[in-house]
């Protein structure tokens, strides 16, 4: 009988009020932790999306001049002038009228890190779009701590007559201490105008224009490759003003990223569709992460066929890059069926290699559940120990 009473005390928490107190404390701690995590998650999520990292380039819109035609912090070669006629933003932009003359600035950088380089550029050069048509440079030199150039990245672009956003994601080589940003005209008769140059470190998302908010003059999303049937869509986007709508099966929407071997990338994307399945196969969407070598050959490919539902839902795919990888291509496509696929708010992150273990990633992604789960497990283990040890 005593045993039973003891048991009752233990499990009903009545042993001089201590067990009850302990239980209350555990309950409060667990609940508190869950609430904090939940709120934290929401806030961190908001911050992750809203916070843009700092632009490393100073006087990036050329508003401050230290001498005529000489913007502060920038070194310029011959043929560069300040233009106040039609800047993209502010009061002035820079105009290059001579080819292979640079406007440059050096900024400190870290090795093996991702940065985005973007610039608004326009030109009045008329070049036919043939083999050698890129009329401008968004050139980058990667410098070591002695100031030697480790690697040159010419960044050829073909600029058209209206202001447009150009750029790319870069991955700094090992030993990089500085990046020299060099803007220049490459070929043709006429001038190139530059404004709003930005070099920003990337950490939360390695994709540019990941929510398709920036469209070019033809309504296509900047930095994205689009196949037939893909277009920007303004009805019911997941966030912002636009999303992408794909209507044709097996037509790609893609973007490239420079990548290092043995790196782990996770792509998260939001999808929805109104595709009606025909037959047993209802997986209407496919997402690919292709690892490419320096010759552009696909050396590894992760593919997920998935069902994009009627309302927005997040999907995830990941890849661990093999040796010889120099780039990763992100591809989304509609697989089959009648109807459209909508895509919005993509995110690619490079995560530490140990997060290849799915469970570790899952714990980070769903903290409230795992706090609940491990707390429950812990409570049961403690109860078991108490039962075993209790005489």
């Amino acid at each position: 009988m005593d045993d039973i009473l003891n048991l009752k005390r233990i499990f009903l928490g009545q042993k001089r009020g201590i067990a009850m107190k302990e239980k209350k404390i555990i309950l409060v701690v667990v609940t508190g932790a869950m609430v904090v995590q939940l709120v934290g998650n929401i806030l961190v999520g908001v911050q992750a999306r809203e916070n843009q990292s700092e632009n490393l380039l100073r006087n990036s819109d050329f508003e401050v001049l230290e001498a005529p035609d000489k913007p502060r912090f920038w070194s310029r070669g011959r043929g560069w002038s300040v233009d106040t006629q039609e800047p993209y933003q502010g009061k002035s932009c820079m105009r290059a009228s001579e080819a292979w003359r640079w406007l440059s600035q050096e900024v400190p950088a870290k090795p093996k890190k991702y940065y985005s380089l973007t610039a608004y550029v326009k030109s009045d050069i008329r070049v036919e779009r043939k083999t050698n048509y890129q009329n401008s440079f968004l050139w980058l030199d990667y410098l070591d701590k002695e100031g030697k150039v480790i690697k040159e990245d010419p960044g050829l672009i073909y600029v058209v007559s209206s202001w447009g956003l150009y750029g790319r994601v870069i991955l700094t080589p090992a030993k990089t201490e500085k990046i020299r940003v060099k803007l220049g005209k490459r070929l043709g008769e006429g001038s190139i105008w530059f404004d709003g140059i930005e070099l920003r470190p990337l950490s939360k998302n390695l994709l540019l224009n990941s929510d398709f908010e920036i469209l070019d003059s033809q309504g296509r999303p900047v930095f994205w490759g689009v196949g037939r049937g893909w277009s920007a869509h303004i009805t019911r986007p997941y966030r912002g003003r636009n999303c992408m709508q794909g209507t044709e099966p097996w037509q790609q929407l893609w973007q490239w990223l420079p990548a290092r071997p043995k790196s782990f990338f996770v792509l998260k994307t939001h999808l929805r569709s109104n595709i009606t399945a025909e037959g047993a196969d209802n997986l209407n969407t496919a997402v690919f992460l292709m690892c490419l070598d320096s010759k552009g050959k696909v050396i590894k490919q992760e593919e997920r066929a998935m069902l994009a539902p009627f309302s927005w839902q997040e999907r995830e795919i990941w890849v661990y890059t093999p040796v010889d990888t120099t780039a990763v291509k992100i591809v989304l496509l509609k697989r089959l069926g009648k109807g459209s696929l909508w895509v919005d708010d993509l995110q690619v992150r490079q995560l530490p290699s140990y997060l290849r273990i799915r469970i570790l990633r899952a714990i980070l992604d769903d903290k409230p559940f795992f706090i609940f789960y491990f707390s429950l497990y812990l409570i049961l283990i403690i109860s078991l120990i108490r039962v075993v040890l209790k005489r």
Partner: protein, 414 residues
């Protein structure tokens, strides 16, 4: 108070200990293992409720199974809001957010029925030591854990209702017993195999038999009727989701188109046995007869048909009732469990693939036990040997039960 009510007074702390151990093992697997069966039942439950039908060839269970799954989906909706946008295919689940949370929740209600069996079993046994042993054997049964919490099959629900039906036989509430047998059959149809023996053993007169039949069959029919118009559903019911193929496969050609189905022959003999032993003096005796007949029916089923691992959950509580009586039978019980694990080799990557949610890049690529065994010895022969051992054990157990029957009969005649 709850603990006091649930556990027998004797050894209450030991019960608690084994319950906690059993729960810890179950919880360890619940969120981290996934099989297409869990995906299928839950996705089609959603389809049945929202679209009124299940895609052709995909309705494998009676409607109550889907309604039960949907009921718990509704219950968990606030914490799994995106479930309705998942798919019937297991692959998209791997890339969906909160996979572990969803898998955990979708299996969590099995615990209610699983613990229900655990608490009912001791109530069917008189001896205190055997009560505890039965409780332990159920809580630690690897097949129940594998099927319910790794594979995500809901056989434990039907099994619970079968045991509840037996509990009411012992409590002399026969109508209630048949009612719960009908509910069990409305989840998975195997309890229908026990309907005739139950009527034979429990109904003393034709009128009582008819009343009991109504108690058992009415809930079953009421739950089936609204879907009877669907050809898919009709086929699922009449073929027991293709199980008839398994049951009728082992047969003898008797010439022309004449056939003798081995399972049916044996089942008929078992019914005859129940009929000739139907003169139970009281509910206790009726209970003792009935669970043994039900055990023989299932043992004969496993002996003569190709079965799936989840079928073994049906027999587990009955086997436990049988094995707590005899230490040597317990050895056979554990041997059977080993044989069922070997039997899972039929599905090649069944065991390693269950862990795919933990790491979809790793587990699908580790060598399966099938592959490893096949490197040294023909896996077909290997499985066949264990299958034969399993059938041999089942037959020996049937013999032991029959011998008990005939001994009792002899004593009665004396």
């Amino acid at each position: 108070m709850l603990i006091k009510k649930l556990f027998p007074q004797e050894n209450r702390r030991i019960y608690l200990k084994w319950m906690l151990i059993g729960l810890l093992i179950r919880l360890a697997f619940m969120p981290f293992t996934l099989h297409g069966d869990l995906v299928g039942i839950n996705w089609f439950a959603y389809c049945l409720v929202h679209q009124g039908h299940i895609p052709l060839r995909r309705m494998n269970y009676p409607p109550l199974a889907y309604f039960t799954a949907y009921f718990f989906q509704l219950l968990f909706r606030p914490v799994m809001p995106l479930f309705e946008q998942w798919s019937d295919s297991v692959l998209p689940w791997f890339s969906g957010p909160h996979l572990f949370r969803y898998v955990f929740l979708l299996k969590s209600y099995y615990l209610i029925f699983d613990l229900g069996v655990a608490f009912l079993l001791p109530r069917l046994i008189a001896d205190n030591q055997r009560k505890l042993l039965a409780f332990k054997l159920w809580m630690l049964n690897p097949i129940v854990i594998l099927v319910s919490y790794m594979q995500g099959q809901f056989d434990v629900l039907s099994t619970f209702f079968v045991i509840l039906s037996l509990y009411y036989v012992a409590a002399k509430k026969f109508c209630r017993s048949l009612f719960f047998l009908g509910i069990g059959a409305a989840l998975k149809q195997f309890p229908l195999l026990f309907l005739i023996p139950a009527l034979t053993v429990l109904g003393r007169t034709k009128a009582v038999k008819f009343k009991l039949l109504l108690c058992g069959i009415v809930p079953y029919i009421l739950l089936m009727y609204p879907y009877w118009g669907s050809p898919t559903f009709r086929k699922a019911v009449t073929t027991v989701a293709g199980m008839d193929e398994f049951v009728l496969y082992f047969h003898f050609d008797l010439g022309n188109v004449d056939k003798a189905y081995v399972y049916i022959v044996g089942y008929t003999i078992i019914l005859a046995l129940a009929y000739f032993h139907s003169r139970a003096k009281d509910s206790k005796e009726a209970f003792e007869t009935l669970w043994r007949v039900e055990l023989i029916i299932l043992l004969w089923l496993y002996t003569t048909i190709f079965f799936l691992p989840q079928y073994f959950v049906w027999v587990t509580p009955l086997l436990i009732l049988f094995s707590v009586e005899n230490k040597k039978v317990r050895t056979l019980y554990w041997l059977q469990i080993i044989c069922v694990f070997v039997h899972t080799l039929h599905w090649d990557r069944y065991l390693p693939d269950l862990f795919t949610p933990l790491d979809p890049a790793f587990f699908p690529h580790i060598p399966s036990p099938f592959y490893l065994i096949n490197r040294y010895y023909s896996v077909a022969k290997f499985m066949g040997i264990f299958r034969s051992v399993f059938s041999g054990i089942c037959l020996w157990m049937i013999y032991l039960i029959l011998r008990e029957f005939f001994l009792v009969k002899k004593e009665v005649l004396r």
